[in-house]
C-alpha cells in the first residue's frame, strides 16, 4: 500500500492550524491571517501532490488507512480516496486559500492599504459616540477608513466593550491603545477566531470526503456545521444582526434535523450489519457488499437521502440556502455553496446509490422529478431576486438540480458529468460569490438596484463578473459546459423526456445571468456614488486569478479531471448492475440532437 498517509496529513494540518490560530490573542490579527494563508496554501500543495500520487486506474480506495476507534460499536478511523472524493478534496483545498485571501479585510474592516481606499460616503455612524460600536459602518471596505479612523480616535475602547470594571474571563487584554488598527474590528469581532473557523471548516470538509467509515463520515458531516454556523452568525453582515442569527439558526436546525434522520439510518445500517454479518460494522467497503432486503433499504435510503437533500439542497428542502447564502460573509458563502453543499451530492453517489441500489432504483423517478423541478424553480426565483447573494444562492438550486439529475440517470456519462459539475459549480459559483462580495464591499448593499453601468468604472471587475456568469450558464469554452453537456447527454440515453425538459432550463440560466449582468454592469451609471468605485486591487486580482484560469482551462481541457473521476463513477454504477444502455442508433445521433440545444443560450450572449 501507499506509505504516505496523505489524507491524515491533509486532515491534521488544517485542524492543528485551527487550534493554533484560535489560540492567538485577538491583537495579532495580521499574524492570524498570514498563518491561515500559509496553512491553507500548504494544504493545497499537499492536495495537489496527493493527486499526482493517485493512480486513477486502480480500483477501490487509495491512500487507505484504518485504525480502531470505538471498537464496541465497530467504529474505526478509516480514510481513503477514490476519484470522486479526491477531486472534491482538491476543490476544497483550492477554495479555502482563495477565501482566506478574499476575506483578508472583511472581518476587521480593513486597514487603509487594503480595500480601504473607498471614497464612497462611508457611513461611520457611531464614530466616537458609543465605544462598543466603533467601526459598525458597513461590511468590509465601506467601513474601512471610517473604522480605522474612529478606532484610532476612540483609543482602545473597542475590544473589551462593557468589560471595563468587569473581570472578563480570559478576554485578551485589548485595553491598551497599542494596536489601534485592530481595535477597529466591528463590534468586537475577533479576526483569529474567523480564520480559525475557516481552518476548522477545511478540516471538516476534507474529513467528510476522506472518511470511509460511515460513522466517521457522520461525525464530520455534523461537526462541520458548527464552524459554518458561527461564520454566519458571528461574521455575517454587521448591520443585520437579527437576519443573520435567523439564517444561522435556520441553517443549523435544518442540517441537524437531516443529520439526525441520517443518524437513525446510520444506526439502522449498523444493526442490519450486525444481523447479517454477526458483528456490527461501519466500514463502507464491507457494508457495500451486504445484501439488504428492499423494504429496509427503502427506509435507510430515505434517512440518508433527506439529510443529503437538505444539504445539497434539492427542491423542497432548499429554503435555508438563500438565507444562509445571503447572510454569510463572502468567504463563508463561497465555501458553503462551493464545497459544503457538495457533501450532499457527494453523499448521494457515495452512500445512497451503492449502499441501497434497489431503493435508489425505486426512488430514482422521485429524485429525477425533484431535480427537474429544482432546475426550473431555482432559475425562476433567481430571475426574480434583487438581492445579489440570494440570486446566486438560487442559481445554485438550479445547478444542484442538474447534478442530481446526472447522478440518478444511472449512466456513467451522466454520473461523470455530475461529479465534474460539482467541481465546476464550486469554481463558477464560487467566483460569482466572490465578485458579488467585492461589489458589496464597495457599496455596502446587496441590492441590484444600487448598481448599474459599472463596466465603465470597474472594467476588470466587470470582466470577471461576466466570465463567472458565463461559466454559470455553461457557455461552451467554460468549464461548466463540459459537465452540463455530459449530464444532459448521459441523461438523454437513459431518459429522453427528462433530458429535453432539463435542457430548456438552460435558457432560464441565460436569463438570470445576463439579466443580472445587464442591470449591474451595463447601461448608464444611475447612482453618482458608483462613478468613483475603484477596480479590483492587487489582492483581489490574486484572489480571482486562479479561479479564472481554471474556469478557462477546464473548459478547454477537462481530461485530467475526467480521467480521475470516470473510473470511479463507472465502477460505482457497474457495482449496482447499471451499465450504460447500448446505443441503438448510431452513436453520434444523440450528442448531435442535444448539442445545439445546449449551445443555444451561448448564442444569445
Amino acid at each position: 500500500m501507499n506509505t504516505v498517509p496523505w489524507l491524515t496529513i491533509l486532515l491534521i494540518v488544517p485542524a492543528a492550524g485551527a487550534v493554533v490560530v484560535a489560540a492567538l490573542p485577538r491583537r495579532h490579527a495580521t499574524l492570524a491571517k498570514q498563518l491561515a494563508l500559509g496553512i491553507t496554501l500548504a494544504v493545497l500543495v499537499l492536495a495537489v501532490l496527493a493527486t499526482f500520487a493517485y493512480d486513477p486506474d486502480k480500483a477501490g480506495f487509495q491512500f487507505g488507512q484504518s485504525y480502531d476507534w470505538i471498537s464496541t460499536f465497530g467504529i474505526s478511523y478509516s480514510v481513503g480516496a477514490d476519484g470522486i472524493s479526491l477531486v472534491l478534496m482538491l476543490l476544497a483545498a483550492l477554495l479555502v486559500p482563495v477565501v482566506v485571501l478574499s476575506s483578508w479585510d472583511e472581518v476587521d474592516g480593513g486597514d487603509a492599504a487594503g480595500t480601504g481606499r473607498v471614497p464612497a460616503p462611508a457611513p461611520a455612524p457611531d464614530a466616537g459616540g458609543s465605544p462598543g460600536q466603533v467601526g459598525d459602518g458597513g461590511i468590509g471596505g465601506a467601513g474601512g477608513i471610517a473604522g480605522a479612523g474612529a478606532g484610532a480616535g476612540a483609543g482602545g475602547v473597542g475590544g473589551g466593550s462593557g468589560g471595563g470594571t468587569a473581570v472578563a474571563l480570559a478576554a485578551p487584554p485589548v485595553v491598551t491603545a497599542a494596536a489601534p488598527a485592530q481595535v477597529a474590528t466591528p463590534a468586537g469581532r475577533s479576526v483569529p477566531a474567523f480564520f480559525a473557523l475557516l481552518l476548522a471548516l477545511e478540516a471538516g470538509m476534507i474529513g467528510v470526503f476522506a472518511a470511509t467509515d460511515v460513522f466517521l463520515f457522520y461525525v464530520f458531516f455534523e461537526a462541520m456545521l458548527i464552524p459554518m454556523y458561527f461564520l454566519i452568525g458571528s461574521y455575517g453582515p454587521v448591520k443585520e444582526q437579527a437576519q443573520r442569527s435567523y439564517a444561522a439558526v435556520k441553517f443549523l436546525v435544518y442540517s441537524l434535523l437531516g443529520g439526525l434522520l441520517m443518524l437513525a439510518a446510520v444506526i439502522g445500517l449498523y444493526v442490519v450489519s450486525a444481523d447479517n454479518l454477526g458483528h456490527g460494522t461501519f466500514d463502507f467497503a464491507t457494508l457495500r457488499q451486504m445484501e439488504i432486503t428492499p423494504g429496509v433499504q427503502k427506509l435507510l435510503f430515505l434517512g440518508f437521502f433527506v439529510a443529503f437533500a437538505i444539504k445539497a439542497p434539492l427542491f423542497p428542502f432548499h429554503t435555508w440556502l438563500p438565507d444562509a447564502g445571503a447572510q454569510s460573509p463572502t468567504g463563508g458563502a463561497v465555501l458553503l455553496v462551493g464545497v459544503l453543499d457538495k457533501v450532499g451530492t457527494f453523499g448521494l453517489i457515495r452512500y445512497c446509490i451503492p449502499l441501497f441500489p434497489d431503493a435508489a432504483d425505486y426512488f430514482a423517478p422521485l429524485v429525477l422529478g425533484l431535480a427537474v423541478v429544482g432546475i426550473f424553480y431555482g432559475a425562476l426565483l433567481a430571475i426574480g431576486q434583487r438581492d445579489m447573494k440570494r440570486l446566486v444562492a438560487y442559481t445554485s438550486l438550479a445547478h444542484f438540480g442538474f447534478i442530481a439529475l446526472g447522478l440518478f440517470a444511472f449512466t456513467s456519462q451522466a454520473g461523470t458529468g455530475a461529479v465534474l459539475y460539482m467541481v465546476n459549480h464550486g469554481l463558477s459559483t464560487g467566483l460569482l460569490f466572490l465578485v458579488v462580495g467585492f461589489l458589496v464591499s464597495r457599496r455596502g448593499t446587496r441590492d441590484v438596484g444600487a448598481y448599474g453601468g459599472l463596466a465603465k468604472v470597474t472594467p476588470v471587475l466587470a470582466g470577471v463578473f461576466l466570465l463567472a456568469g458565463l461559466s454559470s450558464l455553461a457557455l461552451p469554452g467554460t468549464n461548466s459546459f463540459v459537465s452540463e453537456f455530459l449530464v444532459l447527454v448521459g441523461t438523454f440515453t437513459a431518459n429522453k423526456a427528462l433530458a429535453i425538459v432539463a435542457t430548456c432550463g438552460i435558457v432560464l440560466a441565460a436569463i438570470y445571468v445576463l439579466y443580472l449582468y445587464q442591470r449591474t454592469m451595463t447601461g448608464p451609471i444611475v447612482h453618482e456614488e458608483n462613478r468613483v468605485l475603484h477596480d479590483l486591487g492587487l489582492r483581489e486580482k490574486l484572489v480571482v486569478a486562479p479561479m479564472v484560469a481554471l474556469i478557462v482551462a477546464l473548459g478547454v481541457y477537462p481530461k485530467p479531471l475526467l480521467d480521475i473521476i470516470r473510473p470511479t463513477v463507472t465502477a460505482t454504477y457497474a457495482d449496482i448492475g447499471k451499465s450504460d444502455p447500448a446505443p441503438t442508433h448510431p452513436a453520434a445521433a444523440h450528442p448531435a440532437s442535444v448539442h445545439p440545444a445546449s449551445v443555444q443560450p451561448g448564442g444569445h450572449s
Binding site: T72, G162, V167, A170, A248, L260
Partner: protein
C-alpha cells in the same frame, strides 16, 4: 400484640444475627461514617474552622469511598441477608455517584463567587424579607450543615442503587431525598424562591415516596417477599394474584419516574432546579439521576424482568411523553436554570429510550449515558453560577446577551457544553445518545428512536438559541459580570468540559467498563 414474654423470647432466640460483610460494604460505610463525623464537626468545631474542615472531610470521604469501589471491582454477591447487592452495575453507578458528588462538593465549597461567600445561605432560619435577611446576603458565613447533608444524600444514593430489597430501597430513597429537600432551601440569594422549591420538592417527594411504599406493600402481597429476586421468581409462577403484581409495578414505577423526572411526574423539576442553590442543582441533576436510574434498572430488570412485554408499552409511552414535554417546554423558558431543568427532563426521556431496548446493550448504553450527561450538566450549572449580577446569578436568558463578546472563553465553554447536551458529534453527548439509540434499535424500538431524534432536533434549537444570544447579539450595557477568581468552580468546569470532550473523542475505555459491567449483569 401478644404479651406473653416466653413466646417473644422464643422468637428472638431463633433469629441468628445476619453476617455483614463489612469489607464489601466499605464504600457505603465510609460515606456514612463521614456523614456522621460531619455532623459532629458541625456541632463542635469553631465556626471558621468548619468551612475548611467540612469540605475536606466530605471530599476525602468521597475519594476514600471511590478507592473502595475500585478495590471491590469484580465482586458479585448479595450481602447483609439479601438486603444489599454488590455487582458490577452497582459498583459502576456507585463510582459515578461518588465522582459527581466530589465535583459538586467543589462547587459548594466555592466561596469567591459572591461578595461574601458561596452559594449557601448564612442562616437559613431567617425569614426572607426581614431585616436580618438582607444582612445575611453579604455575610461571610454559611450553613456548613450543607456538607454532611450532602454526604448523607450520597449515602442514600449509593444504597439506592445497591438495594436488593424493596424496603431497603425505600429507606435509601428517604435517606437520599430528605437531605436534598433541605439543601434546596439553602440558596443564599432569592430566599423565597429557594424555600418554595424546598417546600414543593418535599411535598411532591413525600407523595411519590408514599406511592413507592404502597407499591412495596403490593409487591409483598403478591410475592410474599420484598426481595427483588424472590419477586422475580414469583412473577414466573402461576396462581398468584396478578392484580397485586400490576398495581405494585405501577406504583413503584410512579415513585421511580418521579425521581428521574420523567413526564408526567416531572413538574417539580423546573421549580426545584431553579430555586435550589446552583451547586445543589448540579448535584441533583447528575447524582440523583444516576441513583434513580440505577434503582429503576434494578426494579425493572431484576424484579419485573419477566414482565417486560407488559411494561414495555408503558415505558414507551413515558419515554415519548418525557422527551416531547422536555424538549417542547424548554423552548419556552426564559430562565437558564429552568431551561436546563427541562433539558434534564428530555435527557431522562433519552435514557428511557435506552432502557426500552430491554437488552444488555441498553444497560451499557444507559450507564454510559449517565456518566456523560452528569459531567456535562455539572459543568453547565457551574458555568451558570459564574455569570452574576450584583443581585446574584444572572439566570435570566436576556442577561446572557453578548457574553461571547465580553467573556469569550466562558461563553465558548458553555457553548461547547450546550452542543454536547444537544448531541453534536465529538462531544460525549453524541456518544451517549448513540449508545442508547443503538441499543433501542437493536431491541426493536426503532419508532421510539425516531421520536427521540426529532426531539433531539427540537432540543438543539433551544440550546442553539442560547449560543445565538451569547455570540450573535450585542452585549448589554449593564451586562452581567463573570467572576474570574473562583478556582474551585473553574476546576469543576474544567473537569466537566474535559470529560465531555474526552468521552466524545475517545469513549472506548469507559464503554469497555460499562460493557463489562453490563455483561456481568445484576446479581440476584
Amino acid at each position: 400484640m401478644s404479651a406473653d414474654p416466653t413466646v417473644l423470647l422464643a422468637q428472638t432466640q431463633k433469629i441468628t444475627p445476619p453476617s455483614i460483610e463489612y469489607s464489601s460494604l466499605s464504600p457505603l460505610l465510609i460515606v456514612f461514617v463521614v456523614a456522621l463525623v460531619g455532623v459532629l464537626v458541625d456541632a463542635f468545631a469553631p465556626r471558621g474552622a468548619r468551612r475548611v474542615i467540612q469540605p475536606v472531610l466530605a471530599g476525602g470521604g468521597f475519594i476514600a469511598a471511590l478507592v473502595a469501589v475500585a478495590v471491590l471491582h469484580g465482586r458479585h454477591a448479595v450481602l447483609a441477608s439479601g438486603a444489599v447487592a454488590i455487582d458490577a452495575p452497582t459498583l459502576f453507578m456507585q463510582g459515578t455517584i461518588l465522582v459527581f458528588a466530589l465535583l459538586s462538593v467543589l462547587l459548594v465549597a466555592e466561596r469567591r463567587l459572591d461578595s461574601s461567600g458561596g452559594a449557601i445561605v448564612a442562616s437559613a432560619a431567617i425569614t426572607p424579607g426581614s431585616k436580618g435577611s438582607t444582612a445575611q446576603q453579604t455575610s461571610a458565613d454559611m450553613q456548613t450543615e450543607a456538607y454532611p447533608l450532602m454526604v448523607f444524600s450520597v449515602t442514600g444514593m449509593m444504597l439506592f442503587v445497591a438495594s436488593n430489597n424493596l424496603l431497603v430501597m425505600f429507606v435509601a430513597l428517604e435517606i437520599l431525598s430528605l437531605p436534598l429537600y433541605l439543601l434546596c432551601g439553602l440558596a443564599r440569594r432569592r430566599r423565597l424562591l429557594s424555600q418554595e422549591a424546598a417546600m414543593k420538592y418535599f411535598l411532591l417527594g413525600a407523595f411519590s415516596s408514599a406511592f413507592f411504599l404502597y407499591g412495596v406493600a403490593f409487591a409483598y402481597g403478591f410475592a410474599g417477599s420484598v426481595e427483588l429476586g424472590k419477586i422475580a421468581d414469583a412473577v414466573g409462577t402461576v396462581g398468584k394474584n396478578d392484580l397485586y403484581l400490576y398495581l405494585s409495578l405501577a406504583l413503584l414505577a410512579v415513585g421511580l419516574f418521579f425521581k428521574i423526572g420523567a413526564a408526567p411526574f416531572h413538574s417539580w423539576t423546573p421549580d426545584v432546579y431553579q430555586g435550589a442553590p446552583t451547586p445543589v442543582t448540579a448535584f441533583m441533576a447528575a447524582g440523583t439521576k444516576v441513583a434513580a436510574f440505577g434503582a429503576l434498572l434494578r426494579v425493572f430488570y431484576i424484579a419485573f424482568g419477566g414482565l417486560r412485554w407488559d411494561w414495555r408499552p408503558v415505558l414507551w409511552t413515558v419515554a415519548i411523553l418525557t422527551m416531547v414535554v422536555g424538549a417542547v417546554l424548554a423552548l419556552t423558558q426564559r430562565d437558564i436554570k429552568r431551561m436546563l431543568a427541562y433539558s434534564a427532563v428530555a435527557h431522562a426521556g433519552f435514557l428511557l429510550v435506552g432502557l426500552a431496548g430491554t437488552n444488555t446493550d441498553g444497560l451499557r448504553g444507559s450507564m454510559f449515558y449517565l456518566v456523560t450527561y452528569g459531567f456535562t450538566t455539572i459543568a453547565a450549572f457551574a458555568v451558570v453560577s459564574l455569570v452574576r449580577t450584583s443581585d446574584g446569578e444572572a439566570s435570566d436568558l436576556s442577561q446572557w446577551r453578548g457574553l461571547g463578546r465580553t467573556s469569550p472563553l466562558l461563553a465558548g465553554t458553555f457553548s461547547f457544553l450546550l452542543l454536547a447536551l444537544a448531541g453534536i458529534p465529538l462531544t460525549s453527548g453524541f456518544t451517549g445518545k448513540f449508545a442508547v439509540f443503538q441499543a433501542a434499535i437493536e431491541g426493536d424500538a426503532t419508532p421510539l428512536v425516531v421520536v427521540a431524534l426529532v426531539c433531539s432536533a427540537i432540543a438543539a434549537f433551544f440550546y442553539v438559541r442560547v449560543i445565538v444570544l451569547m455570540f450573535f447579539s450585542e452585549p448589554l450595557a449593564e451586562g452581567p459580570v463573570v467572576v474570574t477568581r473562583p478556582t474551585l468552580t473553574f476546576a469543576t468546569v474544567g473537569i466537566g468540559t474535559v470529560a465531555t470532550l474526552v468521552l466524545g473523542v475517545a469513549p472506548q475505555p469507559l464503554l469497555d467498563l460499562a460493557n463489562t459491567a453490563a455483561t456481568s449483569g445484576f446479581v440476584r
